[in-house]
Structures are given as structure tokens and as C-alpha cells.
Amino acid sequence: MRRWALPLLALLVLALFAASLSVGPSAVSMRLAVADWLADGDSTAAVIFAEIRLPRALLGLGVGAVLGLSGAALQGLLRNPLAEPGLIGVSASAALGAVIAFYSGLANAAPLALPAGGIAGALTAVALLYALAGRDASVLTLILAGTAIGSLAGALTSLALSLSPNPFALTEIVFWMLGSLADRSLEHVALAAPFMAVGAVLLLSAGRALDALTLGEDTARSLGFSIGAAGFRVIAGTALAVGAAVAVSGAIGFVGLIVPHLLRPLAENRPSRLLPLAALGGAAFMLAADVSVRLGGPGQEMKLGVVTALLGAPFFLALVLRTRRSVA
């Protein structure tokens, strides 16, 4: 079972990716749509495929994967199963960057100003984090500084909302912050993908150091690993990948927390083995949630961040209760 976890999850992601391409309010034959799109056609089916379904499925795949991956890496770095990407203030800062883009009117002038603002917010947060905490900061210092930066960004976001002169803009910002993959274009994908890819590589490269950290920081260092370097890979990787994810999709909670937790037994508790599993698991969870919001039929669809929390919280609670029983 454990040996097959990775290929099985990959198959599941593939199936959900196909489902994400096929499900939507308009009945479109995917076979014809793809054929027409590849032939550079501009039939309705091809347009729906290229401008609605494909970006949405690609973002579900990417955003879910980096949320799961960074959650697993942060849990390994902090050796705490409750760690999640929001902890280092990156999500809140990315949201602030996007809100500033909204607020300043830039978002109306240029459609990509919103995600670009989000990415700028995330990068500013991580630069500030290292400027404040220093280059050889302990993991604890980084987390405390990250929490402070996150709180500050959250407060500034609330300030911007409460000062908003226009109630429509306010509604738009609040809805955006709830998280969604709807109405994104391939330009969004192209903007976020490089950051997500570099972030994911940084996160995956920390696997061995995270394994060594199982035995504590001193022992990990005695095994030849630099804790500062491992911390930088995880934190900068999370900032790039999750910052880009939040910038294009809004804040989507719970994925980075529950997916690693759920898959840890399949990785036999090894942090390095958990990383690729959590990436696939996050992608599967996100694609499934995004398909489910579309099954509700036409009209205002549920926000993805709401659905992941609605599905995630009770599930997580059940998991906690079960472990409590097995420990007691």
C-alpha cells in the first residue's frame, strides 16, 4: 500500500484534473473542444476550454500542490503537526498586496495588477522577515517575526477595508479574499507558475534536512546539515509558492494543514517522503473541492476557501478525536 501511495495519488490527481476540465455549467464535449483548440479553432467549445476550464484546472493543480507541499515542509521544519503556510505571515501579506492593488484602482486598470500585487506582498514579507530576524535566525525567531508580520498585514488589510469609500469595492475585496479559482485566465497561470515552480523546488530540496531534524537541531547539524539553510529553503520556498498561490486564488485555508496530516502515515512519518505525497494530495483535494463548487448548478457558486474549510474542519476534528481515542 505504502509503495503504491505515490502512483495512486498521481492517478487520482490525473482523474480529478480531467474531471475539472469536463465539469461546468455549459455542456461541452471535451474531445471536440481540445481538438478544436489544438487546431487553433475559435469555436465556443474551444474558447470555454482555453479561457475557462483549462486555467481553472491548472490553478487547482498548482495551488493545491504548493499548499500541501509547503504545509508538509513547514510541519517538518517546526516539527509540529499544527504548522501551516499561514504561519509565517506570507498569506496575509500576499492578501494585503492584492488589496492594495484593488484599493489603489490598479486592479481595474490592469487585470494582472491584482496577482502581481499579491506576489509583491509575499516577497516583501519574506524580505522583511529576514531583515528583522537576521540571516542566521533560529526557526523560532523566524516564526515569531512571521506571526507579527502576518498580524500587521491582517490589520492593514482590515484598515483598508474599513476605509473603503465604495461598498461595491468592499464586497469585491471580501469575496476575493474568500478564495476562488473561477474566472482566472491563462495569464494568471503564467504569472504564478514560475514562482510556484521555484518555490516547490526549494521546498523539495529541503527533504533530507527535514528528516535529520527529526532528531533535533543539534543532531541535524552534527549530521552535516545547516539549519539556517534548511530554514531558508522552506521559508523562502513557502513565500514564493504560497505567495503566488494566494495572489491568484485568494486565501484558501486548511489544505496546508490537513493534507500533510492525513498523508503522514503513508509516508511512514518520514518528512522527506511526505513532501511529494502532500503535493499530490493537496492538488487532489483542491481539484475535488473546486469541482464540487461547480456541481451546485448555476448562480452564485460557493467560494472555494469556504468549501475547503467546511469540508476540512469537521474532517480534521474527526481525525483529532480518533487519535485522541487511540492514545487514551
Binding site: T214, L215, D218, S222, G224, S226, N269, R270
Partner: protein, 257 residues
């Protein structure tokens, strides 16, 4: 054949000097006991010798080359360190845990090979823990966990091993067992430095003792020379009782001064 040498080591935590000119040498095949009262600087001296803490003055060298200049992985292959705390953050199986000792021998994405598996099996065997290999390490008893963590340190098959209180909290049977593993390691050529509080174990198993007091090594030599009642009373603040057991002279702490 490796030699680890620290000379004139100074280190302070804030204004409090912890090491104040400590010097120590560890050669191949030696089993050196690091003894001294709590707070004397034993663990700090060991961490400095392991390259985990940087001295403010003085230098540590491995085979004549500065330890600090050595890349982390090369240092980790030559020198293993067993921490005092027995932290274990994830419930790994014993086999996976001991295999972490092979990390310094693996390239970034290289999988462990037959040689690594053999080293893990040897380490488990030496520590009498082979039967535990499938167990979850967090469910082990204190004695089992100490043996498994020692196996983790031995799995890298280092030239030098620094172990901080490996017998703390163990019952007499397991204390003797761990000391025997260390003695066998030294006989096989490994240079071993071990922090101990039990002076009887120190006298019986170590080839040399180093007595640490207020950040300095105040005595360094064969156990019989270092375990001198007058010196021990001055350093530990306890009166010692000497006894003859099975032809060996042992010193026991008897009453506070």
C-alpha cells in the same frame, strides 16, 4: 586514524563564562570519560569539539586541520555526536531512525544502498537492538531508546564519537550494556568521548578521564590518577569513600562537605 583536538577554548553565554581555556585531545581507540559537576562546561565543551558551537577563543582541529573549515558533510562522516536530549519528533520505525545516521554518506537525492543497509544492520546488532528494527521508536522504553539512538550514531561508522550522557536515566543493566558497546567501539579503533556522572563506570570502562571544573580541564590522565579523593572533594564538594571491589579500587560520593 583521526585525532580531534581543542586547545585553549573559551566560550561565554552572555556575561557567564562557560569555557575558560579548556583543552582536550581525543585520539583513535581511546574511550575518554568527561566528568565534572553540573554546570562545569562538559556539554558545552563537547558541543564545541563537535563543531556545534563556535568558541570565542581557541580552536578545534581534526587531524591537524581546523574543524570549522571542514564542510558539514565531511565533518559528519568523520565525527558522530549523540545529544544529551533524546528528542524524537516523529514516530519513525527504529530501522528508519538508525538509517538517519547514514545521511552524511548520501548525495542530495541518492537513495540508501546495500552498504548503508549493512551499516544500519551492524549498528543495530552492536547495540543489541536488531530485534527492535520494526518497532515504532516513540514506543520504546528508556533503555531501548538509548540503545537505538546510540545505534543511530554508530551507523555512520565514524572515526570519532562524542556521546553526551548516553547512560543517564538507565538502569544498571542497560548502563553496563551501553558502556560495553562503547568499549567495544574503542577497541575497534573508534575514538570515543563520553560525558559521565557515574565515577565507578568512568573508572572501570574509560582508558582516560578528563575532569572539568569551571570551564577548564583540571585533570586529564588515566582514571587512577584523575580519581584522586582530594581533587574530587575540591571539585564536586563531596567527601568520597574509597572501597576495594573485586580487586579494583572504586570511589563513591559519600556526603556533602
Amino acid at each position: 586514524m583521526s585525532v580531534l583536538e581543542g586547545a585553549g577554548l573559551h566560550l561565554s553565554y552572555g556575561a557567564v563564562p562557560v569555557l575558560d581555556g579548556a583543552s582536550l585531545r581525543l585520539g583513535a581507540g581511546e574511550l575518554v570519560g568527561l566528568i565534572g559537576p553540573n554546570g562545569a562546561g562538559k556539554s558545552t565543551l563537547m558541543r564545541v569539539l563537535a563543531g556545534l558551537a563556535r568558541p570565542s577563543q581557541g580552536a578545534v582541529s581534526l587531524d591537524g586541520k581546523p574543524l570549522a573549515a571542514l564542510p558539514g558533510r565531511a565533518r559528519a562522516r568523520a565525527l558522530a555526536y549523540m545529544a544529551q536530549g533524546r528528542e524524537l519528533h516523529w514516530p519513525l520505525t527504529v530501522e528508519r531512525l538508525v538509517a538517519l545516521g547514514r545521511l552524511p554518506h548520501l548525495g542530495p537525492f541518492q537513495r540508501p544502498g546495500a552498504e548503508d543497509e549493512a551499516a544500519v544492520a551492524r549498528a543495530l546488532e552492536r547495540c543489541d537492538a536488531a530485534h527492535l528494527r520494526g518497532r515504532t521508536a516513540t514506543t520504546l522504553s528508556g533503555g531501548e531508546r538509548a540503545r537505538v539512538l546510540l545505534a543511530r550514531a554508530l551507523a555512520s561508522e565514524p572515526a570519532l564519537l562524542l556521546a553526551d550522557e548516553p547512560v543517564a536515566g538507565l538502569d544498571p543493566y542497560h548502563q553496563l550494556q551501553v558502556m560495553e558497546v562503547l568499549r567495544e567501539g574503542a577497541l575497534a579503533g573508534t575514538g570515543i568521548l563520553v560525558v559521565l556522572h557515574d565515577l565507578v563506570l568512568a573508572a572501570r570502562f574509560c582508558t582516560r578521564l578528563a575532569l572539568v571544573h569551571r570551564g577548564r580541564v583540571v585533570a586529564d590522565g588515566p582514571p587512577a590518577a584523575v580519581l584522586e579523593p582530594g581533587l574530587l572533594e575540591q571539585v564536586y564538594g563531596v567527601r568520597m569513600a574509597a572501597a576495594e571491589v573485586a580487586g579494583e579500587r572504586v570511589h563513591l560520593p559519600w556526603s556533602r562537605i
